[in-house]
Structures are given as C-alpha cells and as structure tokens.
Symmetry: C2
Subunit: 256 residues, 2 copies
C-alpha cells in the first residue's frame, strides 16, 4: 500500500493537525500501520501525540537538511501501530535552507524512499502556508486531503489551494490526486456553517466526504493530554466523527 | 502619532484578521485616521472590507517588490477614516523574491516612510508564519499585538512567538514593544477556555488586555458581507467586544 496522504490548507486553524492526528490514530485502531509526519515548525502534531518537541535531538529537519535516515528518527507513540516522524522549531530554518538545494521540491520524497514501504499509510501534517515545506509534501504525496472550516475565509481560500495543487500536478507530481475535502468545525445550529457546507458541496460535489467533523470541545481538549481524541474520550461526537471518517476513507468508493 | 501596530501570531486561525479589521474599524469610528495594511497573501483583510482581491491591479506586493508608491495603491473603504493597503495572491511571490534583495527585512519600513504620517494608526495583518512578510512587519512596527485563541495549541506557540519578537528587537528594531496579548474566541461555558485564559494571564500578567473577545458568530458572518462587524451587527457581543478593546487600546494606561 504505502500511500502518502498530505493534509494541507494554507488557511490557518481549519483543523489540519486535528485531522492528521485523529485520522492517523483511527487508521491505526483499524489495524493499519501508520506513520504520521509532522512538517509544521509549530510541531503541534508532535505534541498532540504526547511528545515534547523541545526534548528532541533529531527530527524531520535532520532528514531534510542534514541527510539523517528517517528510520533513525521515527518514534513510537501511545497508539499501537502508529509511529511519528516528529518536528520541532528547527524546521523554521528548513524553509530558507532548502531554497538553495538542487531539486529542492523533491527532498522529502527522496527521504521517505527508504521507509515508506514499512507502512500502509503515511499522513503528513502541513503548516498554514504554500511554501517549500508544503510543496515538498505535495510532491511526495499520493493524494491530498483538504480540511475546510465551515466559515467564509476558509471557503474563499479553497479555489487558490486547488490551483496550487494543479500546479504541483503539472510540474512535479502528475500522479497527485485529491483524496477528499473534509468539512470541519461544523455547528449545525449556525446558519453560516450550513450555507458554507452547501456551497462547498455544490461546487466540489462528490470529492467532499460524507462524514462531517462537528465542533466538539473534546477535540480541543485531547491535545493538552497528548492523546488523540479516541484515547481521551472515545464516546465523544468528535471521536466518533473521526472514526466514521476513517471508515469512509478506507472504503474510498463509498464517498458520496 | 503615526503608530504602526502589527497583529501577528504564527498559529493559524487565532483571529489575526478579525482583530485587524475590527480594531481598525473601531479606531476609525472613534475618529482616528487609520490605515489597514494586508500583508497576508490570503488577502482576508482585503475581502473582509469588501474589496475583491482578484480585481486589483496594484497591491502591497507592488510597493514591496516593484517600488510602487504606497500613496498610489491605498484604497478608501466603506468605513469613513479607514483606508486599506490591499493584498492579493501576488504576495506569495514576495516571500521568495525578497530573499535576494539587500536589506530584505526593512523593505516595508522604507515603503511606509512616505505615508505613515498621514495616519494616527497603521494596523498590519500578518500571515500565519514567521517568514519574511511577518519579519518585515515587525521591523517596521512600533508595537506588536498578539491575538491568542483560548486553546492548547495556540497557548503552546506563544513562547516561541515571544522569542522571535525578542530576536527582531535585538537585531533590527530595538524600539519594538509588546502592545498587548488579546484573548480571542473565548467561550465562558467551556473549562478549557477558562484554564487557558488563566494560564496566559498568570504568565503574561498585565500585558494581557482586560477586554476579551468572546466566540460570537457575527464575527464570522460579517466578512461574507465585506463589512467590519460594527457595520453588520453593531449590537452583537462581538462588535461590543472590539469597541471595548479599542477604548482600552486608546487608554493604554488602563490595561489591567
Ligand atoms: N472539530 C473541532 N471542534 C472543536 N475544536 C477543534 C476542532 N478541530 C480543531 N479544533 C481546535 O481548533 C484549533 C485549530 O485546529 P488545528 O490546530 O487542528 O488547525 P490547523 O489547521 O492545524 O492550524 P494551523 O493552521 O495553525 O496548523 C485547535 O485548538 C484545535 O484543538
Ligand atoms: N471571536 C470569534 N468568534 C467567532 N468566530 C471568529 C472569532 N474570531 C474569528 N472568527 C472566525 O474564525 C476564523 C479564524 O479567524 P481569522 O481568520 O480572523 O484568524 P487568523 O488568525 O487571521 O487566520 P490565519 O492564520 O489564516 O490568518 C474566521 O472564519 C473568523 O471569521
Ligand atoms: Mg496545524
Ligand atoms: Mg488572517
């Protein structure tokens, strides 16, 4: 399998990290072997799985810039069958350091060659930008999953993101597919969320997952305990929604 | 006066644009003359004030990279005494193009020389990153206002942001001050928000504004009408909160 799914959106705070962490954990719970790759200098996916970024001596930065083997940097997590290629603040430097390296868009793709076949899925969390870190992820990817908050600014940015995905397909990675668009932080009581969801479904049709992630406080609480939401409060609507998403993701053909 | 206030936080979705737009509008309503500068390629502040970024032939990008005069690019808005230096997607190119220009950190500061004295306040909205666009804003700034969502990941990133502000103070702009830390999207019913707010106040003491911005749907609805919240629903708690913030901001000495 060894499918690489990149979770990206240049709009900030739309649920990229929350989706990366909880989809990865849900897939691991469904007995798939998963590697979560944190490509964001904020290192939220790393701390969301209980690893303190400040204690790390080697991270994905070393694999990108210092030639370290990914197999030597990967860590186990508190979820069986889920491993982590962690990040820390060093990654900020990579944006600038990668600019002058030849083939700078393909550095992550090359770094993952020696490790990708050990996993069924590799999930990559991206920073809120379309810079070299996100480009590297899209060039390495089999597909891209786009979380979109059901709000105006997030919807507005979707067109630009799709144009950038197409540019990566045309110049670097013709095999890159759209895995799906995921509606997040959906509050059914609020008419703005309903309107935005309708507009996105109207426009992007069956590339939008049937599963919707509701606004649910357990999804915001779980990271402070360093756990995916299934290990924090498995019965919550947030946890159930990500488990549903994982089912739909695995049965790809079922997407609405 | 001609004070330049930068609204920055590398964490995505914490309310930088919402604060930039609504604080600027509140200050204009209080009879100050204000220029809002959109330094984010997403151009959310531009569309939040009713200007379609795709219709623009000249933006802040031209002032940074093509030497255009800011006075020729500034636009009026639907709020008296509030003007806008708009952005569009061209700004994505600036991150890479500025890298090779000498004095690349001071480009915005120089570009604003000829215009800053026409305004009491210049408010700069930043992208969710600590790249060259945000650095340019911090180097040009008199002070930095930091919105922080009352959630775990946003709190976690605060330390790194403060370290970066200090680095800009040490190397480029010793006069840069902290204007204040603003708690946003606060939901008093939710214990996580209360805990995070207490922790941030405990740590950052009286640099945290007394005014708190509640989670309020009118703040998310107003941008889809291209208006600051005061012109969309002046009586809402979201609108009242930003008017309160403007009062506290103007009476600087009153901060808790
Ligand atoms: N469905 C949800 N319900 C409630 N809170 C959520 C939900 N999804 C995410 N959150 C919270 O909202 C905030 C933003 O989510 P998250 O950090 O995952 O977004 P992001 O896109 O990764 O942000 P960034 O652009 O900074 O990387 C976080 O504090 C998170 O805990
Ligand atoms: N107090 C609030 N209550 C409810 N919704 C809010 C509030 N503040 C902001 N929002 C909404 O939350 C989303 C994120 O806010 P905003 O875009 O202002 O954050 P940002 O920090 O500028 O994001 P980015 O990192 O992408 O630039 C937007 O859809 C906005 O309309
Ligand atoms: Mg994130
Ligand atoms: Mg913004």
């Amino acid at each position: 399998m060894a499918k690489i799914i990149v979770v990206a959106n240049q709009k900030g705070g739309v649920g990229k990290t929350t989706t990366s962490v909880n989809l990865s954990a849900s897939l691991a719970i469904a007995e798939r072997s998963v590697l979560l790759i944190d490509m964001d200098p904020q290192a939220n996916a790393t701390s969301g799985l209980g690893v303190d970024p400040r204690t790390l001596t080697r991270t994905v930065y070393d694999c990108l810039v210092k030639g370290a083997k990914t197999t030597e940097v990967v860590l186990p997590t508190n979820v069986p069958k889920l491993s982590l290629l962690p990040a820390n603040a060093d990654l900020v430097g990579a944006e600038v350091e990668l600019v002058s390296i030849p083939n700078r868009e393909r550095i992550l793709k090359t770094a993952l060659e020696d490790i990708r076949h050990q996993y069924d899925f590799l999930i990559v969390d991206c920073p809120p930008a379309l810079g070299l870190l996100t480009i590297n992820a899209l060039v390495a990817a089999s597909s891209v999953l786009i979380p979109v908050q059901c709000e105006y600014y997030a919807m507005e940015g979707l067109g630009r993101l799709m144009a950038n995905v197409k540019r990566v397909q045309d110049s670097f990675n013709p095999a890159l597919e759209l895995e799906g668009i995921l509606l997040t932080m959906y509050d059914s009581r609020n008419s703005l969320a309903r309107q935005v969801a309708e507009e996105i479904r109207g426009h992007f049709k069956d590339t939008v997952y049937r599963s919707i992630i509701p606004r649910n406080v357990t999804l915001a609480e779980a990271p402070s305990y360093g756990r995916p939401v299934m290990l924090y409060n498995a019965a919550s609507t947030g946890s159930q929604a990500y488990l549903e998403l994982a089912k739909e993701f695995l049965n790809h053909g079922e997407k609405s």
